[in-house]
Each structure stands twice: as C-alpha cells, then as structure tokens.
C-alpha cells in the first residue's frame, strides 16, 4: 500500500533543536580548522598544531611498558565469560577498590576513599551531567567560577535543562574565588528568580592550570553550607598537579571537619587526563551522600564503563609499584613541559598565569589587543589560527570576563612539536614587533601594541 507523503518537517524535541550542545563555539571552530589541516612532522609540517586539546600524552609510554610485562599465567581468556556478562551497575568491586586506592595515592594518602561510594560512569562528561540531573531541576542553576571548561555549558545544561550562573574571577588576584564573588553570583541568581542548587568547581582548574588554595576551599565549603546547596568538585586533573603537596582536595577538608555537612559534597574523577586514557571512558562520582550514591548508581545504567576496561584497569591500578612510579613520573614530566613553554613564551615577552597543575597554561595576550573587547580577542584568535597555524582556546569561550587570555595545551604533543609551536610564536611576535617599530618611524599612528 503506498501513501502520499507531503514530507512536512517532523517534530523533534526542544533539546534537539536547541544549540546548547554548543558546537558553534570558537572552542570547536578551532578544532575544525585543525581537522582540515592537521600538523604532521613529516607529512604536513606547515599544518595547524593542535594546542586546544587538553590531552596527556607525556606518560603513555609508562602504561605501554606496564602492559608489556609478562602475564601472571598463560591463559588468555580466564575470566572472560564472567567479565563479558558482568553488567552490574555497582561496577567490578576490584575496579572500585583500585580506583579508590589510586585516588588516595594521588592525594598522598591525605584523604580516604571508600570503594562503596565510588559510582562508575563512562567519563567525567557523563558524571557531571548525571550529577546535575540528580541535584537540580530544569531551570535551576549551578554556580561555576569563571573562567571554566567550555564543555560544562553542554554537560550541565543541554539535556538537564539546568542553568549556569557564573562566579566572576579576574586577574587582579590571580583569578582566586572570593567570598564576595560567591555572594554576588548567588544574589544575581536570586534577582532573576533562579534557584541555585549547587556549585561546581574544577580543582586543579581548567583552564587556569592552578590548584585552588586551601583557604579558598574552606570559604567555598562554608558558603555552600550557609546556602544549603551542593558542592561538586571536579578533580579530573588532580594527578596532574606538578607536586602532590600543591593539590588540596575537598576530600581533605571534609575529613578535617569530621564529615560534618559532608552530604552536600561530591567529587568527580576520571582517568582521561591523569592516565591519558580518554578513549576508555572511565569516570567516577564519589559522593558523601548515600542517596546520591544510590541514585547515581541507578542512573549510571545509561553510562556504564565496559567491563573489559574495568578489568584491565582493576589490575593496573592495584599494582602499587606501577601507580606510584606513574604518578611521580607524570608530575615531573608535566612540570618540565610546563617550564619549557613558559620559558619559551617569556622569551618573546608573553606572560602566563603562574601555574602549578594541568595540561595547559593560561596565557596573557591582552597587550596585543587594540581594544580590550571580546571581539578583538576573537580577531586575535583567528589571526593566530591562520597566521601562526596553532589552535589555542580564547578565554571568552571559557567565559573569562577579561579579554585577552588564552588557554594553550602542551601535553598532547611531542617535545619536537612543542618546539615548532614555540618557534612559530617567536616568529609571529618578531614580525609584530618589527612592523610596530617600522611604523613608529614612518607614521604617528600606533599599531596594535
């Protein structure tokens, strides 16, 4: 039987037609430019170098070496059947234990993690969205200090219908989060009749590349307690702090306070950054709130970690000789990489925020802007993308209130590629300075300075 179809447009959901997936942001536009013309040392040496991707490739050789070690027994499929059938949303007990232990090691043993509070998710992206579904109703808001990871706009808002209210931070105090800024953000939400349900911090911070001070964490915890809201601490870069002592986890503060008011605290973690395994989709939620643990666990049915991957990581992360060496070496290598890029940039007069963690630095190019506006920042970003052929992330895509800052990733490439990038930046700055000085002699007009 045939039917005459007029082909009207078929309705999709509001979620479907919204643009809250945020892929029109410059954060992603730069990626597209890279995709179309990717740098390769041999095949495409003049291509775009990707410095907008916070990936950690500096220590993957350690993981490869671990996998090369001889097997404990000869069988290749012992446990396969059981593993392939295991779909329990509690996750493999051995995996949860190993994750809890790994998280403790990263914090130098200064905090304890109970494996039964570990909820597994397919990546931190899923974990943050899941927590938002649990903590906020559509229309409610989460407070997030700026600048923040652009992906949060999608992760916290798209399918959940929640809002983000920014807590403004600026360079006057190295982007520290102040009690005044917290109160101001809360008042702003109130004035718009938006109910604040919680606060999300990233510690160490993305894009700043710094750890949050203990005193600031104390202030934040006091603030959320006073307002009776939740605190989500995304500690995905905790193992990427250049020294273990620099990083203070909210878990330590909670323990120091004897778990008082801890039921509002939830920690997100993942192996995508510290271990450099983003493809494996390994995220966790650690909550001090029993109801959140139970609910998150049920909801994780939609986003579980492959049992095959859980099994591999249970083995790897319970091998203390591997993890201790990995954590230590990874920190050292990241610090060295950071130093290299900072020195390279300083050499051409570019300053960065003094960082102590993460896979990127927070670069200050405000002096290169004609005017301190977002449009000028984007113009500069486009110029850098097309002329210098490096993709970096403009601060405005991270909701930074001060134009001119850029996040530059340094751990997703070889040392040689980093050197090429620095050389290109040198040349760019040289050209700019030469043009400027030439013009000072030839004209009264000032070029961008």
């Amino acid at each position: 039987m045939t039917i005459e179809i007029e082909r009207p447009s078929v309705g999709l959901s509001k979620v479907a037609v919204s643009e809250t997936h945020c892929e029109k942001s410059p954060y992603f536009a730069g990626w597209r430019a890279y995709d179309e013309n990717p740098y390769d040392e041999l095949c495409n040496p003049s291509g775009v170098i990707q410095m907008g991707l916070a990936e950690n490739q500096v220590s993957l050789d350690l993981v490869e070496k671990y996998l090369q070690k001889p097997a404990d027994n000869g069988s290749t499929t012992v446990g396969f059947r059981e593993n392939a059938l295991f779909q329990d949303y509690h996750g493999l007990q051995a995996f949860r234990k190993a994750m809890a232990s790994f998280m403790e090691q990263i914090r130098g043993g200064r905090a304890k993690f109970d494996p039964d509070r570990v909820v597994i998710t397919a990546g931190a992206t899923a974990a943050n969205e899941l927590l938002t579904f649990i903590l906020a109703d559509p229309g409610d808001a989460m407070l997030i200090p700026t600048p923040y990871y652009p992906g949060f706009d999608r992760d916290l808002r798209w399918r959940t219908g929640a809002n983000i209210v920014p807590v403004h931070c600026d360079s006057s105090n190295d982007f520290d989060i102040t009690p005044e800024a917290l109160e101001a953000a809360y008042r702003e939400a109130e004035s718009k009749n938006i109910k604040v349900r919680g606060m999300l911090i990233t510690n160490p911070s993305n894009p700043l590349g710094i750890t949050i001070k203990r005193s600031t964490l104390e202030d934040i915890l006091d603030f959320v307690t006073r307002k009776n809201i939740h605190l989500v601490s995304d500690e995905i870069f905790s193992g990427s702090a250049f020294s273990s002592e620099d990083f203070v986890s909210v878990a330590e503060i909670v323990e120091a306070r004897n778990y008082e008011d801890s039921e509002r605290v939830h920690i997100v973690y993942s192996l995508s950054k510290d271990l450099g395994l983003p493809g494996f989709r390994v995220g966790t939620i650690y909550s001090y709130n029993d109801k959140v643990v139970t609910t998150a666990r049920r909801m994780s049915s939609f986003t579980l970690i492959s049992s095959q991957t859980q099994h591999l990581l249970a083995l790897m992360l319970s091998d203390k000789s591997f993890t201790e060496n990995y954590i230590k070496t990874n920190r050292q290598r990241l610090k060295k990489r950071y130093q290299k890029i900072i020195d390279g940039l300083k050499g051409v007069g570019i300053e960065c925020l003094r960082g102590n963690a993460g896979l990127f630095c927070w670069m200050n190019l405000s002096s290169l802007l004609e005017k301190p506006t977002k449009e000028q920042e984007l113009a500069l970003w486009k110029l850098i993308l097309h002329e210098v052929k490096i993709n970096i992330s403009p601060g405005s895509s991270c909701h930074c209130s001060e134009p001119g800052w850029f996040r530059v990733c340094f751990a997703n490439m070889s040392e040689q590629t980093l050197e090429v990038a620095l050389r290109r930046i040198h040349e760019f700055m040289d050209r700019r300075n030469n043009v400027k000085s030439f013009d000072v002699y030839s004209s009264d007009q000032l070029f961008s300075s």
């Binding site: 892929e23 069988s75 012992v78 392939a84 509690h90 397919a122 899923a126 493809g279 492959s306 991957t309």
Partner: protein
C-alpha cells in the same frame, strides 16, 4: 560569617526523588530475592534460581575461542600493543570507523543480508533513552504495545519524562498488535491532551519471544506515517531468532513501502545477540539525518570504550566467524527452547508459541486462585518462596491479563535446565495432592511445579550482585 546549618535535609531534584527508576517493581523484587539467597549447586543447593535474567550465555565459548586465536584484537597483548596508544587516545564521538563498519555488517547479516546498513548512521548510545531526548519533550507520549520490557518505564519515563501509552494486546490473538488497539490508544491519549510523538516497540518482542509478521509491520508503518509520528524499533533480539518465520526488520519493510524515513529509528545492541552485556555496546541507527547528528553529540555521555570498540571491530569483521556464530547461536537457542518448553508441556504448562528471544511466555492462568493481579502476585510469591525460582510476573511487563510469566532459559547450562524441570515436576505432583484435598476451593486444575535447579558455577551471577571473586589475571582482551 555565620555558619547556619539550617537542619534541612539535602534536597535532590525531582528526578532523583521520583520512583521512575523503576526499581520498586516486582521485576526487581525477584532479583532481590535471588540476591539474598542465590542458588549454588554445592554451597546453596536450596537457593533461588535465576530465571528472570534475559542473558544469552549459550554461545560465549565461541567468542572465547575466537579471542584465544586472535590475540592482536586486544590492545593489551604483545601482538596488539602497537595499537594501544592510538586506541587509548581515541575519544571521537563518531566512533572508530572500523567498529561502525563491522557493526553495520553484523546488522545486515542478522537480517539475512536482505538489507544493508550505512556505517555513518550508526551512533553509540545507551539505547532508547537517548532517542527520547531527541524526539520528545517532557510530558509527550509514546505508544507502546503491552506487554513490554519493564525497564522501558525507566528508559523513557525517568530522565526524558516521556509518558508511556500502552497499546493493549490480548492472548485471544496471541498478543498481536492490531490497528484497532493502536487507534484506541492514540485517540485516548489525544483526548487526554497528550502530545503523542511516536510508537516504540521491541521486535522480536520481550517478553513474548515472537517476531512481527509482514502484515503487522506494514500496519505499523502505515499508522505512524499517517499520523506523522516516530517509530522506534528496538531490534536488540534480532539475532536470537531461532526458527521461522525469519526475522523481518523495519529496515526491510521500508524498502518496499512509501514511508517518511525521517520517522524510522532502530535500536540495537550486542548484549543479547552476542551475549556481551558487560561491554555496554548500544547502537542507535536512524534514517533521520538530524537525529543521527544529534545522537552523535549526545553519545558523548555514553561512548563505548575504545578498547572494546577495537576488539569488536576485529571480531565482527571476521565474516566467517560471525556467520558461524550466528547460525550456531540460533541452533543452540532452538535446542534449548525446545527442551525447556517440552519439559513444561509434559507437566501441562503451555507457553506462547515463539521463535525468538531468550525466554518463553508461560501461561499459568489456570493456576491462579483468582483471575486477578492479586492472584498473580500470590502465585508468584509462592513460586519465589516455595519453589525458589525467580520468574517475572506478567504485571511487571504491564500485561493486561493476569497469569502470564516470563521465564528465561538461556542464562544457564543444560543440567540446570533439567533440574529446573525436575523441580517443576515435583511441585506439580505436590500441587496435585493439595488439589485433591482442597477440591472444593479450586475451580480449575492446578498444574504448577518447578524442579530444583542446579547452578553451573561458571555462570555469572545476577547483575545486581557483585561479581564473584575471580583471581586477578593479566587482561588479555
């Protein structure tokens, strides 16, 4: 700064506080009974036997054998380690191209090669939930033939907040979906001011174990076309068809019919066909470009581990293996189905005639004290507590008629099946004695018995339980 602990309990969202997660349903009560007292042949021979879990354990040995013979498919073996770095870093939500190609091939093979699938339309997803986010707003409705898979309530109703609108099917015509029932459900929803966005169904059906015939599929496609609403076909059991009539997918029907293809979406998985539920491979295949693009973005919230994509890309590209696997799996399912239903039949228990799935739809209406859902619950409690068997009552699948139960048979070995049947025979015998004694109270013959079940210790435990302790060995997959 005053620290005011208001003393209020921490408030969670409405979604978190609701019951839409569905775990209070009897579907899960049986599992809880099993979790508390799991059968084990030596350690707990009087425990509850799990027949409420639709898992396909029959062909797992074939996969084990393949993995042994193909160490390079794993990124953790010497042979496969060269691919470790690129795999570990691969987080592109398009998914590994070789993985998508391999899945497309598998889907085609499961449909007898009568239709081909475009790898670029394959999106990784957690199943129907993701499609609901794309197709429907909170409060919208989706028609769904009942009885239906219990967890659809959660998948559609919990986070997407879509309302399920049952399309009642009756035993009088073997639970087939009729146009009258569809229209009735649709009109009833419209009268209640519910915006009907689509129709979702499982084909092959869970819990019925039947496949849709050509005429019914055409009726469905015509219906949704006419109403311009979406059709979501969950074809997760496609390769569990073990007997004719052969499986007819919606993908085949639309080749023969005029149809707005933007309305057609298929859900697949490797959890049932391949028996790999732990690997979390869910697929959405949509004929609607917008839905594919959106779904792909949404898959960021639930991508398949690249390690697993890599392994499966290799396995599913081995066409000779896949063909052998599919035919052997079907053969084993047929054999298991036949021996189980024959055993039931011998003690007078009938099942709906089925040709697919990992379960049968058992008719125990004549055993009810009263033909009500209370009667069904009463009988089910007896089965759980006295016979120590976890089966799933029809009411948990929203069946319109009391007295039907789903019994899974593919998550155990042959010996366990024999024990199950033995328990049934013993129980029937006991029941018959009771029947003689209380003749006046019973209007119909009671024929219910469940044998004691043995449990193969290699079988996985309930998904609700922790995995049994297994020695830690180097991962080779």
């Amino acid at each position: 700064m005053e620290l005011m602990n208001s003393g209020k309990r921490q408030l969670l969202s409405k979604i978190a506080s609701s019951d839409e997660h569905g775990e209070n349903s009897p579907y899960f009560d049986g599992w809880k009974a099993y979790d508390n007292d799991p059968f084990h042949p030596t350690q707990n021979p009087h425990g509850v036997i799990q027949m409420g879990l639709a898992e396909n354990q029959l062909p797992v040995d074939l996969i084990e054998e393949w993995i042994k013979k193909n160490p390079s498919a794993s990124i953790c073996t010497t042979e496969g380690l060269h691919a470790f770095k690129s795999t570990a870093l691969y987080q592109d939500y398009h998914g590994l191209p070789e993985f998508r190609h391999a899945v497309a091939k598998l889907m085609a093979k499961s449909r007898g090669g009568r239709v081909s699938f475009d790898p670029d339309r394959i999106v990784m997803a957690g199943g129907g939930e993701m499609l609901m986010f794309c197709l429907a707003d909170p409060g919208d409705g989706f028609l769904i033939p009942s009885p239906y898979y219990a967890a659809f309530d959660r998948d559609l109703g919990w986070r997407p907040r879509v309302r399920l609108l049952p399309v009642t099917c009756h035993s009088s015509n073997n639970f087939q979906i009729t146009l009258e029932a569809l229209e009735a459900a649709y009109q009833s929803a419209r009268k209640a001011n519910i915006n009907v966005k689509g129709l979702i169904l499982a084909n092959p059906s869970n819990p019925l174990g039947t496949t849709l015939d050509t005429s019914t599929l055409r009726t469905l496609v015509t219906f949704i076309n006419h109403k311009q609403i979406h059709l979501v076909c969950d074809e997760i059991y496609a390769a569990t068809v073990f007997r004719g009539p052969s499986f007819l997918s919606v993908s085949e029907i639309i080749q023969e019919m005029e149809c707005n293809r933007d309305l057609i979406h298929i859900v697949c998985s490797l959890s049932k066909d391949m028996g790999l539920p732990g690997f979390r491979v869910g697929i959405v295949y949509s004929y609607n470009d917008t839905v594919v693009n959106l779904g792909r973005k949404m898959s960021s919230f639930g991508l398949v581990s690249s390690q697993t994509q890599h392994l499966l890309a290799s396995m599913l590209s081995d066409e000779e293996f896949v063909e052998r696997f599919l035919s052997e799996s079907a053969r084993r399912l047929a054999s298991r189905h036949d021996s189980f239903t024959k055993g039931l039949d011998q003690v007078g228990i009938k099942c709906l005639k089925s040709n697919a799935g990992l379960f049968c739809w058992m008719d125990l209406r004549h055993l009810l004290k009263e033909p009500t859902f209370e009667g069904e619950m009463g009988l089910w409690k007896v089965i759980i507590s006295d016979v120590k068997l976890n089966v799933s009552p029809g009411s948990s699948f929203h069946c319109h008629e009391p007295g039907w139960f789903r019994v899974c048979f593919a998550n155990m070995d042959d010996e366990t099946v024999e024990v199950a049947l033995r328990r049934i025979r013993v129980f029937v015998g006991k029941y018959k004695e009771v029947e003689v004694q209380v003749k006046k109270s019973w209007q119909r013959n009671l024929r219910l018995s469940f044998p004691t079940l043995m449990y193969d210790e290699n079988m996985a435990s309930s998904p609700r339980m922790m995995s049994p302790q297994s020695p830690l060995v180097r991962a080779r997959t």
